[in-house]
C-alpha cells in the first residue's frame, strides 16, 4: 500500500513538473492554458490520492481514517469541477479579448 502511495505521489510530481515546464516554455497563451488545465488537475488529483492512501496506511485502517479519505475524495471532486472551469473562464476571456494564436512563422516578429 505504501509503495502504491509513493508511486502515485511521484507520478503526480512528474506531471506537475511537466506543467511547470509547459507553462514556462510553451510559445503562446493557448498552449500554456492547455498545460495548466489538464496536467495540473491530473497531478493534483494524483498527489491527493497518494496522500489518502498513505494516511489510510498510517492510521491502520480505522474508521476515522476512512472519514478523512472520504473528505479527500470530496476535494478531488471539487478540484475536478473547479479547476477546468477556471481554465475555461480564463480561455474564454482571452479569446474575447483577442489574444492571437501562435503560428509557426519566423518572419512575424
Amino acid at each position: 500500500m505504501i509503495i502504491l502511495a509513493i508511486a502515485l505521489i511521484v507520478l503526480g510530481l512528474f506531471f506537475f513538473f511537466g506543467t511547470s515546464i509547459g507553462i514556462l516554455r510553451l510559445p503562446d497563451f493557448y498552449s500554456r492554458a492547455h498545460a495548466a488545465g489538464k496536467a495540473d488537475t491530473l497531478s493534483t488529483i494524483l498527489i491527493i490520492l497518494g496522500c489518502a492512501l498513505f494516511h489510510l496506511h498510517q492510521a491502520h485502517y480505522d474508521l476515522a481514517s476512512f472519514h478523512v479519505m472520504a473528505k479527500l475524495f470530496v476535494i478531488i471532486g471539487f478540484v475536478f469541477i473547479g479547476s477546468p472551469t477556471a481554465t475555461h473562464a480564463i480561455m474564454d476571456a482571452a479569446s474575447a479579448a483577442g489574444v492571437e494564436h501562435w503560428q509557426k512563422k519566423k518572419d512575424k516578429k
Binding site: L13, L24, A36, D40, T44, C51, V79, A89, A93
Partner: protein, 96 residues
C-alpha cells in the same frame, strides 16, 4: 517518512517558483492569471502535505476543502472583467 514528504513539499515549491517565473515574465495579464491559478491549485497539495508532516491530517483537510471550493472564484471574476473591457493591453500606458 516525514523526510519524504518534506522533500515532496520542497519539490512542489520549487516547481511553483518555475510557474511563478511565467507570472514574472507574463507578456499579458492573462498569462499571469493562468499561472496564479496553477499556484492556487498547488496550495491545496501543500496544505495536505503539511497535514501529513504534522500527523494531524484530519484537521487539515477542511482547509483544503475550502480551497478546493473557493479557488476558482477569483479566476471567474477576473475573466468576467476581461469580457467587459475587451482589451488585454490597457489603452494608454505600458505593461511591465
Amino acid at each position: 517518512m516525514i523526510g519524504f514528504f518534506s522533500g515532496v513539499g520542497i519539490f512542489l515549491l520549487l516547481n511553483i517558483i518555475l510557474v511563478f517565473i511565467r507570472a514574472l515574465k507574463g507578456p499579458t495579464v492573462i498569462d499571469r492569471l493562468l499561472s496564479i491559478n496553477v499556484i492556487g491549485t498547488k496550495c491545496i497539495n501543500l496544505i495536505i502535505i503539511a497535514g501529513i508532516i504534522f500527523n494531524r491530517l484530519d484537521m487539515f483537510v477542511d482547509i483544503a476543502i475550502g480551497y478546493g471550493l473557493l479557488n476558482y472564484i477569483a479566476a471567474v471574476a477576473t475573466a468576467k472583467f476581461y469580457h467587459h473591457n475587451k482589451t488585454l493591453v490597457p489603452p494608454s500606458g505600458d505593461l511591465s
